[in-house]
Amino acid sequence: MVLDELKIGGLGSSRRRVEDDRFIRGKGNYVDDIVLPGMLHMEILRSPVAHARIKKIDTTRAWDMPGVRLVLTGEMMAARNLAWMPTLSYDTQAVLATDKVRFQGQEVACVVADDPYIAKDAIEAIDVEYEVLPAIVSPEQALAPEAPLIRDDKANQQDNVIFDWEVGDKAGTDAAFARADVVSKIEMHYPRSHPSPIETCGSIADFDRATEKLTVYMTSQAPHIIRAAVALVAELPEHMIRIVSPDIGGGFGNKVPVYPGYVASILASILLERPVKWIEDKTSNLMSTGFGRDVYLQGEMALRADGKILAVRMHTDSDHGAFFSDAQPSKFKIGLMHSTFACYDIPTAHLTAKGVYTNKAPGGVAYRCSFRVTEAMYFQERMVQAAADDLGMDQAEFRRRNFVRDDDFPHRTAFGFLTDSGQYGKCLDVGLEAIGYEDFLKEKEEAAKRGKLLGIGISTMTEPLGAGNSREYDILGIKMFDSAELRVHMTGKAILRTGAKTQGQGHETTWGQIVAHELGIPAEDVLVEEGDTDTAPFGMGTYASRSTPVAGAAVSMVARKIRAKARKLAAHLLEASEEDIEWELGRFHLRGDPSRGVTIQECAMAAYSNLPDGLEPGLENVAYYDPPNLTWPFACYIATVEVDPGTGVWDVLRVVAVDDCGVRINPMIVEGQIMGGLTEAYAMANMQFITFDEEGNCIGGNYMDYLLPTAWETPGFELHEVVTPCPHHPIGAKGIGECATVGGPAAFVNAVMDALKGHDVRNIDMPLLPDRVYKAMTERTDVSGAPPLRME
């Protein structure tokens, strides 16, 4: 009788999430739940202005308050060479400001006190004198010839440019444009949004003078990177640093960078020799930590009259704020922006990218995306719709004509990526059929006669998920592989640790499923533990949808190493040679006599109690996995909308999502990821942005202004799938956590733009607020959302 994989929670089982039991009961253990003996509380004083010289900081009143233990300023940090810290992108960032403040919300001073109330009170008792300077809030302002220099702290910085980067074939692209029948152009801004995890960032630093050991409990998606950073910045020996990421209440890229609060709390603990807790409030999180996007596009497509794309030319200006602090693979300054148009067969392309400093919070993090892929795919699909319109072609047909064909893999994209598999046409067809494309077009025409504006938007894309391979992908030189360590105990139960770090993705559930698939050990018999650098093997953490592609592959590989050893044990138990042993799920049997066999659990017991001569005891191993390529999930998202011509308000009628993430480990979790991603996509298209006024004041620094969608207004989603297993992943899986966030926004925006067809509008910047839609519709003009925002 062969074991039923679904019954043991293997691949394809929608087993309930193991972690939810404690989360739903309020028994999660987040950083702020941790209370250590003698723990003190830290609060940060933040700059009220965007750009100013600091004339004077007077901390006397704060020091005098009862219960205040320490007041830290930039000057005190500088005395310890800690006023500045390196970022993950080879820049520097102020820990506490010494010379100038460069964005509203920047860290200026810290108070450590007996309780958080006193710390908050004492912050208000620090007097800072600022000499306000002009604020820069957009690349246009930053690049103006007379623009003030933001980073005057850097010796060789003459202007506000961070990088000038290019990729692709300029000459070939120029030549293709010269012979184009039609050139389609569009400009747009992908607004600044914020990952906004429900749990803000925070840390508890606990330096023990007696053992010289530093333990930091913190909200990090990548604890091992933090350990390396602390070792380098604080010059502490790496083996005496323990970073623990306990339960994390969402990350979405926000919890990858190193923040000044972490560093200040560590120094405070070292100085005071007591644990120091720092927990950000929501406003601080929104105003000062890693935002996403804020990129401007000038896009052009060279087209042949029959609808063939001949070439793509793009220029991006990205606003990184005051410090270049987002994590990017070091080779690629604007992340994987050049993965744009990967699903289309484009002969040649050229991308130039300029990064600039502004007086805004630093970031540009991969908010639920693989390093700028969200921007790349949004620009791609908006350009595609504009091009189809310019050619007068049906938008679905235009896509179909330009897709890479199923028999054309592996395919080298115009920007140099290697895609390995896909069924883009089928994916689109499933979507079109689900939405009832032809019927909707008729309905739209009928509705127009009654003065109703209906629109349909399509977004198709493939995206690179799961960095690395290590040849091309590193952060600060550390290669982007990942790891898994599996220990099978004598009763056949197991503990699995990986270098990734779950923040809601469900690793505790799905890793067990991979072990169940590889070894036949029921998923419920596998305890998954991540986030403690003293126990977990080294890994680069969880972001960019890399857990399943990289750490998940390592789980498979380590389980296979265990299986290989178990085979030796089985041979010993069955008194046969290894070559005569066959594997079925959860059991070895004699070739030719399936009735004679031993289970994996029996092998585990033998590993501790009945070993053949020469075999090392125990049943544990570790695997480091360096993927041969990225994984390339693809998707088709289609939205239909109705626009109110009187107000510009648009309602979503239907949303269809077709995702291909290869083999689904846990279909329920995959669907949850897609629905979550579509919700964020809807939010970005509809309501969500952080902007700035002329003085650099952040508009969107709280949940009254920065809107998270709720169940009340979020539309329903209809999910479909296509399955093309990843050819190189051990179980054929691909990343999925970010696809809908990446591909979704363009579907909504394209739908609204489709409804406005005939109104001479090419683009409205997200979010498509009613007043923007109304203006575009009535004034027949594009609407830019670029800051500064006029506030009266």
């Binding site: 908050k120 309501m687 009340w712």
Partner: protein, 291 residues
């Protein structure tokens, strides 16, 4: 949340509460539903040294309908009680239309109608509805009770006409002069967001003509705006496309919105015009249908 230090009192009677407010000398704040006050404390935008919690005082949570159609709403009547009231739907359609649009369901469970009036936020929903209905606030202080029309209650953003030791104990809606009709339309970026613009328009109909009208505007000025000229222009005649259009124009003239991240000033004026038109057109077609 880590607010500044404050003293907390929960008196059992209105008189005790008034006494505490007198002691507080203008620095005390009344805590009813807390849906605006608590966020202000959390953000440290307000730091009142004394909070007087009136939730322990009995007899303030009433929602009473009199035979003549007038309504009394106690200081502890929650938005949710209005939203769930079948009788409100029958008796007062303008209020009923607004009841489900105040903030979000969580806030509506706790927040109070009277608290919303007293808070005097130009983005508040209920003040505009009360302006449209000609409603009043009953304030009680050391010298007894007085009634203040809501249109005179609000002086500016977050400034009301109450003295420091007066409590808004009840709101009253007068009896309609005919069949009460009307509506409330709100443009918001998301449920629970403050209004970009909202309009309350109420008309009483007697013998096919408008016997009384009121129009209140939300988020288009430093206080709740009373489009009284627009409303007056409707009285005495039937609702026609022309009268509606002219009232909508007059209402838009009263609006003094500012451009911000919710929309431009021009757009908000346009929405006022659109919403007045839509509410009154809907009333007019319901009358036609009934006839």
């Amino acid at each position: 949340m880590y607010p500044p230090r404050f003293r907390y009192e929960a008196p059992q009677t209105i008189d005790e509460a008034i006494q505490l407010l007198s002691e507080g000398g203008g620095d005390a704040k009344i805590l009813a539903g807390g849906q605006s006050l608590i966020p202000l404390l959390k953000l440290r935008f307000a730091s009142p040294p004394l909070l007087v919690d009136i939730n322990e005082i009995p007899g303030l949570d009433h929602l009473d309908f009199a035979a003549d159609g007038s309504i009394r709403i106690g200081a502890l009547c929650r938005h949710a009680a209005l939203e769930r009231s079948e009788e409100l739907r029958v008796r007062q359609p303008t209020m009923a239309a607004a009841a489900g649009l105040v903030a979000d369901p969580i806030v509506r469970n706790r927040g109070t109608f009277v608290g919303s009036l007293c808070h005097a936020d130009p983005q508040g929903d209920w003040a505009a509805v009360m302006v449209a209905l000609g409603g009043s606030l009953v304030a009680q202080g050391p010298n007894g009770r007085r009634s203040i029309p809501v249109k005179d209650l609000v002086h500016g953003p977050f400034q009301n006409a109450l003295t420091h030791n007066e409590i808004g104990v009840e709101a009253t809606v007068p009896a309609p002069q005919g069949t009460p009709l009307g509506g409330y339309l709100k443009l918001e970026r998301r449920i629970g967001d403050f209004a970009t613009v909202a309009v309350a328009a109420s008309v009483d109909i007697e013998g096919g003509a408008v016997s009384r009208a009121g129009i209140g505007l939300v988020a288009v000025g430093s206080k709740t705006m009373d489009a009284s000229d627009a409303a007056a222009s409707l009285v005495g005649g039937p609702l026609t496309p022309e009268s509606i259009s002219s009232a909508a124009d007059l209402a838009a003239e009263v609006a003094k919105p500012r451009s911000d991240h919710r929309g431009s000033a021009d757009y908000k004026k346009h929405i006022v015009r659109t919403f007045v038109t839509r509410i009154l057109t809907r009333v007019s077609s319901s009358l036609e249908k009934a006839a």
